[in-house]
Structure formats: C-alpha cells, structure tokens
Symmetry: none
Subunit: 224 residues, 4 copies
C-alpha cells in the first residue's frame, strides 16, 4: 500500500542519497540493499520500483558526477582560449566537485571495479575523456611555453591524483575552508607545472582588472 504523501520523485532522490551514504561508509559489496532501504524507510524489495539492479544503481551513481564535471568544464572553457585560464577553471571545477560531493567522488574512485563490463566501459570512457581534457590543457600550455612538463600524460595523472586526494581527508567541519583548500591546491598545481609561485595570482589579478565578465564565470566555477 502506498503511504499517504509518499511521492515517487522524492523517494527516488532519497534512495540515491541513502545509497551514496551507505556505499561510502561500507563499500559497495558490504552495502546491502536492505541497509539502503532501511535508511530510506522502505523495505528492500520496494527499491526495485526505482532501480533495475544494484549494479545499475552504482552505474548511475558513478556516471553522474563525471558527466556533470565534463559538462561544467566544457561550458566554462568555451570562451577561455588561454591554457592558463582553462587550467584554473579545470582545477576549480574539479575541486568544487570533490569538496561538495566528497562521497560521490570517493565512491567513484573506490567502486569502479564493481561495474560489469558494459557499464565499466562507459565510465572509464568518461574518465578518459575527462582526464584527456586536462592533458590537452597541459599540452597546449606547454606548447605555448607557459608550463614546464616532461610528460603531459604522467603529469595529468599526477595532477589529478593530487587534486582528488582531498576527498580522503576533507571534512566540512574541519579547520580549512573550501576556499583555502582550493587556493592552496591551485598554487601547488601551478608550481607543479613550473610556473613561478605567484604566477596564478598575478594572472588572476590581471584578469580581474581586464576582463571582468569572463572572470565572473571562472569565479563561479573555481571559487578561487
């Protein structure tokens, strides 16, 4: 029997939320549907009114953040021809996601292997697409003489690993604000790429002065 006031869309959202939380806490295998259902306040079999299978649920959970990050970067990068600006945008998008959706991202890194072949391919495809966006930035910046890198792909991995590391230790109630974290990491990233320690700030300052409109966009995205 349908509970008075129960609502499909609300329940669906609640399931997503509960799934993320439970999987983040226990891991995918240890996260039983019973537990997720209990968190939502329904019985396990009722989940199947909203999901096709446990694996499909995981797939949806893993795909979404990647799609969002890619979309957000692409939208922002459209009018940013400069590799330096693009890098800053990328870092901003990446870190904001990793700080706002720590659990989702955490799951994404931990539970990727649980996906079955076809879904696995889709998600790794998106991950490749995502990391290649960064590689492209680095290559263009290197070609333009802005960055000093030996191997663009390795640098991509190193940069991504560094930036993604935040979701292993960041806590909203911790001593560091998101802004501070973004600032520190942006600086670390810039230095990694061989820019003088203050380059990014200098550039930002220049940007603020010269191109307020474009800048606003970047601000939204990167919080930097």
């Amino acid at each position: 029997m349908r509970l008075v006031g129960s609502n499909g869309e609300v329940t669906e959202k609640a399931i997503r939320r509960a799934a993320v939380e439970v999987i983040a806490e226990h891991g995918f295998e240890a996260a039983s549907l019973r537990l997720i259902a209990k968190e939502v306040g329904i019985q396990a079999p009722s989940l199947y009114n909203y999901i096709k299978s446990k694996e499909q649920l995981l797939f949806d959970l893993l795909k979404e953040p990647l799609v969002s990050m890619i979309a957000e970067y692409k939208a922002g990068a459209e009018h940013l021809p400069d590799p330096f600006d693009r890098l800053q945008l990328f870092i901003g998008v990446h870190l904001n996601f990793h700080l706002d959706f720590t659990q989702e991202v955490f799951i994404g890194n931990m539970e990727l292997r649980r996906l079955k072949r076809p879904h696995y391919k889709v998600v790794t495809g998106l991950r490749d697409e995502y990391s290649l966006m960064l590689t492209k930035i680095i290559e263009e910046g290197a070609k333009a003489g802005q960055f000093q890198v030996d191997d663009a792909r390795v640098t991509t991995f190193a940069l991504l690993a560094m930036l993604s590391g935040v979701c292993n230790w960041y806590r909203p109630d911790g001593p560091l604000s998101k802004d501070a974290i973004v600032r520190i990491h942006t600086k670390l990233a810039m230095q990694m790429l061989g820019l003088p320690a203050t380059a990014h700030t200098d550039k930002a300052v220049r940007d603020v002065a010269n191109e307020p409109k474009r800048r606003k966009r970047a601000v939204t995205a990167s919080v930097a």
Copy 2:
C-alpha cells in the same frame, strides 16, 4: 591427502601472493577464500592452516608494506640531515614501493575500511606515522627556507596523493621505466614545493661532487 612435496613455507608465500592478486583484482569483499585457495591450488579450508581469519589476512597484507616503508626510510634518513636529501629519499622509497608492490599498495588504499576496529587503528596509526615523516621533512625544509609551502599538512596529503597515484596506472610492461617515472615525479614534487625546476638535479650534481659516500646511500634507496 598431502601432496608430495607440499611445504608449509612455500604454501604460505603462495597464499599471500594469491591473496594480493585476487583482492587487487576483485576487491576484498568479492575475493572469496575459495577463489584465493583455488589460485594456490588447495581447498579453501586448508587456508586456515595458515591464516586466522580473512580479516586477519588482510591486516597482515596491509601492515607489512607500511612497516617496510617506514623502516626503509628511517634507516636511510639516519645520516641525512638535509631536508632536501630526506625528501629525495622519501620520494624514492615511496615510489619504489608503489612501483614494485603496486597491488599491495593499491589494496592498502582501497580496503582499509574492511578492517575491524583494532586492526584498523593499528594500520591508520602506521599511516599517520608515515605521513608525519613527510610532514616533518616539509616543515624543516620550509623553516630552512628551502621549500615554499602554505600548509605543511595539506601539502603532505597532496604530495602523497600525487605520488601514490602511480599505482592506478603503472604497468611494468608500459612505455615508461620505473626510473623515468621516479625522475618525473621527483621533479614534479620539487616544483610543488617551490624549488626551481632544476634544483633537485643541481643539488644532486653538487652532492655527487662533494659527498660521494652519503650520496651513494641515497642513490641506493631512491633510485633517483
């Protein structure tokens, strides 16, 4: 029935090996003892002649690399007072382990949560000890004016995340040699800490000229 030539020590090693491989491939929860046993060529219950429980097995697997890395760094650092040298040593030890024992390290990062309370405490204790060794290096280097860092702890995490990232993509049969990977990452790390892109090489060169004995040690340890 005991197979002719069966031998406890050999079997024990084989179990460790198989466990690492199977857990790295499927994840701890999905890695059934039956599967591990099959890989070894014995029946699942026979595992219990060598392990106390599945969780205890994981604990042993997770503890060992940490203990080894800590010991190796400590042994090497004893006669290296200079933060720069110590950093180089640390990076060398860390990367060598992550490249030689990719799977063990991978498991260490992925399956930590599967440990029960007491074991969990032990391993996270070791991880803290390990990361604090790096933090100390950074702090001392910063005090000495060698490194430019905003927050030693955050930088520690960022550096570790970056360095550990290799075990997500490194393959022995890939295009890059371990040496090359170490070299690239050492440079990236140095730049992250605000050293001019060539500082580490310069310093190394100077070291080789001035203090051949100490230098030899560091070379052994870091392969840098």
Copy 3:
C-alpha cells in the same frame, strides 16, 4: 517464488513444530536448519523470515513451556491454600505438560546448555522460579505436619527428577494411559513425602464430598 496459499502464521507454527521434532530427534547441534526447513517444506534461508537465529529459536522453544507451566500452576493455586491440594495441582500440571509436550520438555532438559549467556540466564531463572514453587509447597506442608521431609530443596529436586522422568519413556501409543501415569506418580510422590499410601485418595474423596467447587478446579488441572 511464493507458493499459492503460503501463509506466514501457518509457516511459523510449522517451523516451531518441525524444530521441536528435529531437535528432539537429533539434538540441537545435529539438527541443521536445512533439515528443519526441509521438514517444513521450504528452503533453509526462508527460515530467517521467522527466526532471528538458530539460538534464538531454541530460546523461544525452551522458554515457552516453562512460562506456561508457571502460569498454569499460579492460576490454579490462587484459590488453593492447602499444601496438599497445591501439591496435587503441581503434579498434575507438571505431568500433563510432560506427557502432552514430551518433546518440548525433553529438549528443555537436554539443550539448555546450548543457549548463550543472556538467554541461559533467563531460562535457568524460570527453572528456579518453577522449582521454588514446589519447594514452597513442600516447606509449607512440612510446617503444617502434612509431609515428612528432611531437606525441602533436595526433596524438590528428587521429586522433579522423578516426575520429569516420564518423558524419557512415555509413548502415547504405549500400554499406559496418561491418567494411569498421573495416578501412579501422584501416589509415588505422596509416599515420597511420607503420606500414608492412601492419603491422597482419601483426601480427594473428602474433598469431593465437602468442597465440590474448588475440587473441580484441581481436577481439571491435575487430571488426578
């Protein structure tokens, strides 16, 4: 797949019944859930829709008869001030239970040790309560000069052991009716307590003559 006509309550009863039968036959440890389930006509895991664990099932099985016997005696004894009448009631309740629920009682005596601490405490608590009811009867009868006993507690144990012995040999299709068994044991018990061999009959006869109402009650309860 749910069988047409399957019904929770019916299944629950069937499980209890099957459990009692299988445990009585094989003992608790040897009574596998698979076997119990097979007896019910379901798969073993389905049992867990009705039980929390095997041990909890045993606990329920052991607790129930004790609770019933205590309740039945208390209800009947309320209006029986005379120790002799109470003894007769107690014997009746005890034997009726032991003859009607031979298996349950048998399990109760055999499998008590299988219970875990907290459950064990509860059941032994009930057993103590039960045996102390008899001790009280004996003590009061002794004080009133009706019974001749040296040690009320030892006599309690001896009496209970004797009365409970029936479930080791009684078979419904045996040569002796329940009534006959109750009669014989009542006489044995009375003699054990030092009453002349015919006292109980005499008293009963007197009772029937003098107090038909109260007597009726006792008859119902004890079948004597």
Copy 4:
C-alpha cells in the same frame, strides 16, 4: 617425535579424562577433538593413536560406567537374598557412581543418541539390563509384601529418574556431603515404595546387630 617421558597408557587415561570433561561441559557435538586434544596437550590427529573415531570414544565412555555398576551390584547382591537389602545395595551403588562420576553419568544420559545404531543397541541393552535388575528387586519385594507398588516398571523408571537426578545439581563443594545425600535419597526411595519412613533405618540397625559381615559389604557399596 615422541616426547621424552611420554607414555601411551598415561596419554590414554588423559584422553579419557579430557574427553569426559570437555563433553560434559560442551556436549558431544560441540566438543571438538581439537579441544579435547588441547586439553591433553597434543594435536588432534594424535588422538587417533588411541581412539578409532569420535563416536567409538563416546561409546567407550558410555559403556564403562554401566558395566561397572552392573558388575558391582551383581557382586554385592550375590549373597543378599533379601529384596530390601538388595534395594539398599542398588541405591548405594547407583548413588555412589552418580556422585563420584557425575560427569560420566551425565554424559551417559545426555549423549546416548549420538551413538550409531550398533553401539546404541549395546548401550541401551546394558541400560535395560541395569534397570531390569531394579525391576526385579521391586517385583520380588512386592511379592514378599515388603513394597507397595502399582506398576513395577513405572516405579523402576521413577526411582531411577529420582536417583539419577543428583548429577544435575550435586557439587562436591556444595553444602551436602555424599553421605547425607545417600541417606536422604534412601529414605525417599523407601517411602516411595511404601515402607514406613523409618523402616530402612530399623532394618539397617537390625542388620548391623545380626549380620555384621554381610553388612560391611553393603556399607562399602552404599555408604549408607
């Protein structure tokens, strides 16, 4: 390798002892050979130098006390034609065994069902032989007008159940001495059989006066 000073016979005794203890504590099914072996100080497979199987071990454990009790009674009864004396002897033998070998007897009552068919038959055969000895005493005493019983077999069961009950509560360090327990139960038994409360004492007194030699035997056996 044989331990210095290890000795087959000693080990065998130790195994019996350990088996009795462990089985009495945990029950036969729950008493693993590992546990028994550990108690002895050897490894589980070493048990097989002394036992044929776990079930055979139980068989031996169950058979022995019965054989002993039967033998002891027969030896003592040989020169005791009087049913009253024989009863006293029987009670003495039975209680002494049940008080001295509480655990063995306890196991005998609890674990009988664990025996496989052939062994089961042997032991129940011995039990029948044993109980029939008592039945014969009762019948002869009844024929001689010494006892008042309705049904000799039921009385046998009742008497045995009562007498055996001691091993459920007797503790060597409890408040009651063995002598006291035997005295109380002898009296209870006599009263059960319709003898005046003091008959057994009177008879005993007479016996002591008239036939000191035979009496001594009975004393040894019954401790009464």
